[in-house]
Symmetry: C5
Subunit: 370 residues, 5 copies
């Protein structure tokens, strides 16, 4: 269950800075380019890096979306074309990086982590690097598929504000969409927690604790993405990079609010998981208590009776009771009396209940009235 | 029990900024307008948005209170009339937002969370957005009904300072009233905790732990409202927005104090809930201990006696004791002696008490003297 | 036990700012005035507010001490006479306020919390508001009686530095005296903790846990007074209010040190209470362990023996052992051997000790040598 | 297991500042010098301190690597040659120091901690002091052997950017390589944790807890190196020491990111160890519960039956049942009925399962579906 | 055990500032004066305060060391001679003060806490106040004896740098020596913790928990000295008091590093004590589990057998088995079969082991390989 958290990829010790470490399983890059202005819009699949040169044409905003990074020379030639700093390119390729915002000359790199729920209980995390320049946006994604289709639709439709704005608004829209993608993931975890809430009391198995630990680790993992994202977005809002105009900063303030909100929900869920774990432990203790009560009641009632029976099973020659006619029924009556006495004692202690126990009823009223 | 905390509404991923997401169950807006100056005061139910134009008349202060937001076009036309920024309107409608204070030109948006105890044990939380401009205040509420009636009465009565001041004092009064609404809610939780304090020791059932977890979650939820409110009010006090004059800032400092006080009480209650949970767990452990003692006492006394009885129930031919006349009473005396010996041993250990135990009496004195 | 912490008084929701909420049980104000200069000193009981006007005479320092606030109109007329800001008067009367220092024009309001041990185990907390102006100090106390008698004596004696200084030194002396009052209270709690330290191991009853929780809550409550006091005194030291001269700020730095020291001791005690609680829980676990051992030893020894006795209590016709003469003593020897074997096993495990156990002796040496 | 953490070396109390405390076991220094420029490169073993004077020749960058420090006079003469401040030399020799960056005139001292996994489960920590001046870099290592071979290879190969840059880039490369050395160490700990995850539930032995504590202590120890390293690297990035040019600061920003990332992973692992410890404790509780159930089931079934058998083992003369022919089979039937009744009761409670229990099945579905 | 922590001395409430509170048990002051310059050095026992006047002679540095403060008039006359501020003198005498650095005109007061291990397990804490002026240093110690002998030796020897410097270097040397005195104390605690590590698993007695609590309290107490010392030394490094020249500030930076290091070690030890406490609790739980297993195994094996024996101990007339010749051996075989079955069941569960258990072997391998 931990395996999702341990990320084994890391920069090779002592590697040249700017070295691109590309694992074998990285998918081959697919490049998709959208160019739009208020009036016009074109979308093309790009096969040759040279086609990307139109991005330098100031007339329109260009969004170049690169999914997959499994081709070192292609990545390098993109880096050369757009004059990306070697460290910027390294951050884009050498995954995972912490979410952050960093300025490289007139380019602004923002790294965020995109989450998607692929199957129930499986959260897919993917690094997205957004490079913003005056009139183009580059996005680098780890794998194919993303949550950005609504953005593409909005560009295509041509109605929204997006077509009226420049590249900075596009970058904002992409970051905002990715961050809003955390809500359904958190919601799913929330529903899972609701589902576990009762079971924790009624059926506390060790598997349940493992499950709770899994949720906790998932939340730790999400938090690792969300917390630095706060700072990254805040750096976009508060920074003074010329690529972002003041108007878009107001919009980014909203994105920052969502970052804060998701991080708060994550913390809240963590507190709840801790609460459920404590409830779990106390349920176990309660169970042991209950098991002990059954044992104690059974043993306390029958052990004295067995002793009594044992007494009259002795083979002494001189045991006058054995010859008394009413002795046997007397023993039975004594035994029943002892049993009833013990039962009454346990009932008084609240260990057994015949519908109404003198102790537990008061509480139950209390709890119900709430 | 968690359901109150998990808020499933969230911005749709990739939605256009400024998109108003209005759920079906949102109540239709009711608009109430109060206009007043030092001499005069009118209160009207508003049916057409155009009636609100009087708010731009500088002669009087106008308070426009919109309860419910279930009509997209109406909300949009109010936004158009008052030239609200699309993001401001989005924050107002797309509930829940974190409490915050944000400036949009000459308008100042403050979002707070209003709490009310509807039924015992049920806390109703509702977002209230306060838009302050030079001479009018807009308040947007999630649902009908609020805690602001005392404010309306004070405006009507005409005696207080409120009629002598401008819109900023009105905004302060509204925020202050909403924040003071936390006191009775916290008081109720406090009384609940007092009520549970004894039960935690005398009757620790699993239901009680669930109840404590509920209170804890409620406090977590309250805190989520209270903490950012501190910052929101502080931003009003320390900020430099021209809509709030220095005199009103002194009053807001008082509101800030109340925010701090409520947040402190919330933290204190959380510590107490944690304390009660620990007491609960230790009560369970104590109970198990008590159950074990009963079992151990019963078993330790009767198992050896039963063994003794078993000895003389054996059918060996050559058992000289069986033929001795005083053997039977001797066995009884041995048994009684053993039983008394065991009881003395347990009494010395403080496991059983006949009124006075040598161990527990010392402590009791100690505890009582305190 | 919580009741001391939950303060039910709070501002009425939606009340006019500056509203004085005076509970019925508030005692009627008693006004005591001390006027002094380096040469001269007079102390008077004040019955009419007009007598207080002498305070405006710059020749001497005036200390007006108002104990109790159960007379709204009197409080109002004092407020009018000294031109107190409505919010200042509200903070003075609407108890409890957080300790704080706030400037209102040339007046400086400092709110502190005075503690006194009235009876052992009962800590009395009372709000004291100190209003400092150029040449007078007003103190408002919640109830009659205080810890300020040493200050009065020092003024009367005329020997100390106090008579040579102005009103700011008087305000410092009052604040310092009140804060030094925390030391005996903390000392008492410390002694209580020492007293409980042994009992926690020797006699862990549920009542003890409740007592520990009480101490913890008392410390939480004290901390609520001490922490904001730090800031309040620091605001006097670092602030730039003209009513406090630089020389007195050096003295206040000393008071600030005491605030820090008391807050540190409070935190240390809280950690100790937590430590005692853990010891308590582990003592319970130890006890259960001990109980279990007794049960296990008794049962493990006698159950096999009883089984053996049961074997030869069977009534089979063909049981050759029954007819062997030495069978009965042989059974006894077997039984004794089994019992001795079990006892040896338990002694080896360290569960029972006859003076010296092979296991525990090593540790005991270790512990003693320390 | 703690021994790796407790470092017994510490400055002798009251020693003259600048005193070099060299333990006997410190290895004799080996000096290795690499001089390189864009065109040229030489590597030499240095036997006499005078040979190091070439470092003052501005034509090339010189890296002097001193491994081991077990020769006081040699260390002193190196210090004299390079005019190292006495405190700088003391920090280099008196190990361990906290990682830090400190300026001494035109020299910049950076102390980092190098980690290596020598054998599985054994982490070797070693202090490396990097002294950067305009055109040379001194590195002082505690012991022979390091992780810097890739750097030496890169200098030798002459292809990378390193040969084009000055000494500051070399210092950056060394620091970066050392910090990247934390990744494989953390990875190994991560894999260890994955391996323990199942065992914690299936086989919770006390040895396992000790093992978890060991990992925790190892993480605490790593953190002690990583946390101050963050500040040390940040001081290089943000500081204004002239020895580091702006371009290299951008590279160092990358190193800082790696510091943050490793510190985050360390914290995450600590949380996981805590999680595993809680799982461990709950597994123990579960085990006790399971043991109790077996005991309770066995005892609850057979104790009543034994009592019944005891009844008819009594030797009363007048026991009519004894003479009834079908009494014996009737007793057997009663006994079997009782046993089946008890078993049903326990099965209903979910204490025993014959493939399907009414209680546990629901949960299992739940857990599997996740 | 707490008694070492609770310090009962505290300023008398309402006392005149500058009041010297001298307890009766305070030892009479012994004054020792050392005067030195680069060439010369004299050490004298001082009997009359007037002898101290030579300190005002600028030619040499004077160190006046006052041990004990049990003579009010002497302390006062020293204060008068050196024109010490009343609050400075109060801080020196009214022990304990928090470690701090405070400027009084051209005098700089630094209060630190000196620790010494007098007997194993007993840490002696003593307040040392260092008053630094241009050319003299006053040190006030609580009791006779200190850790400063190495400093005195270094002054006497005349070789070190100390004789070349002014009073600020002397003050630095004293503070540095006192702070380095924490290392052996911490080391001793560290060794104690190593010693307890095994015992916590092998022999968890309640006394051990008390011992752990004692160590924890000792660490809390040490931390109370160490933490404010950090700030105090930092104030010397960063402050701008003219009595400390820039060169000495570099040396003090080193002292600050030691403060940070000792505080980190203290925190690390606290975490370890917490870890040991958890291990302790889990050992107790493990023990209970072990005890339970023995009971369960014994009871589960013999209770059914006893029942079987009980069956054939019944006295029914019509029990055909009793008359079958092979019945008795058959019962024995059944019994042995049952016992072996139970033992196999428990062995499978890993509750008992005959050298190799199918369960525990796997883990043991795992643990050993580490």
């Amino acid at each position: 269950m931990f395996s999702a958290i341990f990320d084994k990829r890391h920069p090779q010790s002592g590697a040249r800075p700017g070295t691109l470490v590309i694992p074998k399983e990285a998918p081959a890059p697919r490049i998709h380019m959208i160019r739009y202005s208020a009036e016009d819009m074109t979308a093309t699949e790009v096969n040759h890096v040279e086609e990307l040169k139109v991005a330098f044409d100031n007339q329109a905003v260009t969004w170049i979306d690169i999914q997959g990074y499994g081709d070192k020379s292609l990545m390098q030639s993109i880096g050369d074309l757009f004059e990306l700093h070697p460290l910027l390119l390294e951050d884009v390729v050498n995954i995972p990086q912490r979410p952050k915002t960093e300025a490289y000359g007139d380019q602004l790199l923002t790294i965020v982590r995109m989450v998607r729920v692929e199957r129930p209980g499986e959260i897919d995390m993917e690094q997205v690097s957004i490079v913003l320049c005056k009139n183009y946006v580059l996005t680098f994604q780890e794998r194919y598929g993303d949550v950005l289709d609504p953005v593409r639709r909005r560009i295509r439709s041509g109605k929204g504000v997006i077509r009226q704005h420049r590249a900075d608004f596009l970058a904002y829209t992409i970051a905002d969409t990715i961050i809003d993608g955390y809500y359904p993931v958190l919601e799913q975890i929330g529903e899972h927690l609701i589902g576990l809430e009762d079971i924790v009391v009624t059926d506390p198995t060790p598997e349940l604790l493992i499950e709770l630990n899994q949720i906790k680790n998932r939340l730790i993992n999400l938090r690792r993405g969300i917390w630095p994202q706060r700072e990254a977005v805040n750096a976009m809002v508060r920074g003074d990079h010329p690529a972002i105009c003041p108007e878009v900063r107001i919009y980014l303030r909203d994105t920052y609010d969502h970052c804060v909100q998701t991080s708060e929900v994550t913390e809240m869920y963590r507190e709840m998981v801790t609460g459920l774990m404590n409830t779990y432990l106390s349920s176990i203790a309660n169970r042991t208590n209950e098991v002990m009560k059954v044992l104690t009641i059974m043993a306390s009632i029958f052990i004295p009776l067995t002793f009594l029976a044992g007494i009259y099973g002795m083979n002494f020659e001189h045991m006058p009771e054995l010859h008394v006619e009413w002795a046997y029924p007397a023993v039975w009556i004594t035994m029943l009396g002892t049993a009833v006495g013990m039962l009454t004692y346990f009932w008084r202690k609240g260990w057994i209940s015949f519908g109404t126990s003198p102790k537990s009823s008061r509480t139950r009223r209390k709890v119900e009235s709430d």
